[in-house]
């Protein structure tokens, strides 16, 4: 639980959210869970700007997972 709270606080800080947006994000994560939220669930009521930032974060998460392929210098179209 401690880890979850810290993670949500980090997320709010990374996304530079206002108090209102931060509360909405917290509520959505509580309802959907962090994974589903980052993957797009529960974002319906958020502003376009916030959704865009979450999309950027989600892409970074996916890119980091593919980091090994990137480091190998391969063209990802091969995969």
């Amino acid at each position: 639980m401690e880890r979850d709270n810290q993670t949500v606080m980090n997320l709010i800080d990374i996304l530079d959210l206002s108090e209102k947006d931060g509360t909405m994000v917290k509520d959505a994560i509580e309802k959907e869970g962090l994974l589903k939220f980052v993957n797009g669930k529960g974002q319906e009521d958020l502003s376009d700007e916030v959704v865009e930032k979450i999309g950027a974060l989600h892409e970074i998460l996916l890119l980091v997972q593919d980091d090994a392929a990137f480091l190998m210098g391969g063209d990802l179209s091969d995969q």
Binding site: I14, L57, D67, A68
Partner: protein
């Protein structure tokens, strides 16, 4: 445009959006280097305090996200082989190359993880471990097994003398308590080396428990560490 170029551009754009680091600065660095170094070694480029704070928080978020993904796949993660231990700790600290981190997973009788704790965050090539802290956490978790792990920020996948010494020390402390040291894995960038897999645990003889702190590092000698 190749998919690699798309991949790079997407990383630059998103990193800029989240941290405020100018795209030009990221691109300049990436001309000669792997841009992911900016996440793993934030000090490779000049950052403001705010940008550095965001990178650190982003790294923590990536680690938590990776672990949550693993936990979702298996409600309570069970470690059944060294490869799984390596994968688990790579998700947590394998890509953190700015400094050494020592972690411990406390396991139940079926080797399912009760809790995983960061024990020490050190410098680029060393970390100080206090066995008393590990003992307190083990007892609080009522665990039956312990999995030790740390990252080698250099990427070198060979256990050092201090790595062997800390494993020996933990074996000495926990064996009388019937808590098994399942393995000690060293991780870096998706790779791992396992003491169990290399049959190094069997070579460590049981000695008297010693609770003094020990400095974990890649280049210091075993004798130096034991003098602490």
């Amino acid at each position: 445009m190749t998919s690699r170029k798309v991949y790079e551009d997407s990383f630059y754009k998103n990193l800029n959006k989240l941290t405020g680091i100018p795209i030009g600065k990221i691109k300049d660095y990436a001309k000669e280097n792997n841009p992911f170094n900016i996440l793993e070694h934030p000090s490779v480029i000049d950052l403001t305090d705010r940008q550095l704070d965001k990178i650190n928080k982003l790294n923590d978020f990536v680690s938590t996200y990776n672990v949550l993904r693993m936990e979702e796949e298996n409600a309570r993660i069970q470690i059944t082989c060294p490869q799984e231990a390596g994968d688990y700790f790579n998700a947590l600290i394998g890509n953190k190359r700015d400094r050494e981190r020592f972690m411990v997973a406390f396991l139940d009788t079926s080797n399912k993880i009760i809790e995983t704790k960061m024990i020490s965050e050190g410098t680029v090539d060393s970390a100080v471990i206090y066995p008393r802290d590990v003992l307190k956490m083990a007892l609080a978790n009522d665990c039956k097994g312990i999995l030790l792990a740390h990252n080698h920020s250099s990427g070198k996948m060979i256990p050092s003398s201090p790595d062997i010494a800390i494993t020996q020390r933990m074996l000495n402390i926990f064996k009388p308590l019937d808590i098994k040291i399942i393995d000690h894995v060293i991780v870096s960038a998706g790779k791992y080396v396992s003491f169990a897999e290399e049959q190094m645990l069997e070579d460590l003889n049981h000695e008297l428990a010693d609770y003094k702190p020990i400095k974990l590092g890649e280049d210091t000698s075993l004798e130096d560490d034991l003098e602490m």
